[in-house]
Amino acid sequence: MSRIHVAAASAALAFLLASCSRPSSLPTGELKSAAQRKPAPNFSLKDADGNAVNLADYRGKVVLVNFWATWCGPCEAEIPWFIEFEKKYKDQGFAVLGVSMDDDGWKSVRPYVASHKINYRIMIGSEVVSQQFGEIESLPTSFVLDRAGRIASNHIGLVDKVDYQNEIVKLLEDPKSAAVPDAGAGELAGVTSAGVRAGQRP
């Protein structure tokens, strides 16, 4: 019968887990002034029904773009808030777009969306979209866009519900936020969505 000796050298091997995280390169926090805001990268992703969701089509609305995953506990904590925001502010020109970063896509996301009764649009994200938004490594990460499609704030990790709510309300009420810059200057910086555009704004 063979016996096994573990070599001493490898017994000291230790794996440092969660050592490679780094914060997004974008600063996080409160609303930027209109002059500081940069156009959000455009994306075109499919929703659960296979319809293309183009961020550019949401120009004119205040949009909360939330990167999340089904395995992310802090993301789950935010979902009821976003459901409430969608319900409360939709008619004022607000929308939540949830971009899932689940590797197995709709297999996990579809039942999760149903069980959590999510009422806003959900899409499956991609590495390309993640990179466009500053290489998202931590979830949840959210961006609040003004009506001109510019990033007015971003949040990495779980923040207070009231912070989101204050930002959304301010942007909905801010007439400057509604000013859509001339073509070009404020155009959503499209990268991934060549040729895929819905005919009308949502």
């Binding site: 019968m1 096994i4 000796h5 490898s10 794996f15 887990l17 490679c20 779980l158």
Partner: protein, 112 residues
């Protein structure tokens, strides 16, 4: 024995997470000269985090996973390298990192 060291403030889901959507800590060994016959994970801690209503089954800090191997009767004596993969998903109190899979290796000596 695979020693693991978790960055302070972070946790990984245990091998038996509390929710079906959470990604378990998993160690697998590739086919090789020895066959993994069982694993011994430490006792998970039930920790309450601000983002969760219920405590979660997690590992934190330093811990180790022990694998029991069987050597087939015809196993060649001498040094051998075992290779495998460790899959984990880490979070802290406010955010989560994407799941990762690390390559692991273990040097062993098979003795007749």
């Amino acid at each position: 024995m695979l020693p693991l060291d978790l960055r302070p403030g972070y946790h990984v889901n245990s091998n038996t997470p509390s929710d079906e959507y959470l990604i378990p800590l998993r160690l697998t060994w590739n086919p090789g000269p020895l066959e993994a016959s069982g694993f011994a994970f430490p006792q998970p801690r039930m920790e309450k985090y601000s983002f969760s209503e219920k405590p979660l089954s997690v590992f934190t800090g330093n811990f180790q996973i022990v694998t029991h191997f069987k050597a087939p009767a015809n196993a060649a004596p001498g040094p051998a390298t075992l290779t495998g993969k460790l899959r984990y998903q880490a979070c802290n109190n406010s955010m989560c990192l994407a799941p990762k899979t690390l390559d692991v290796t273990q040097q062993v000596e098979i003795v007749k």
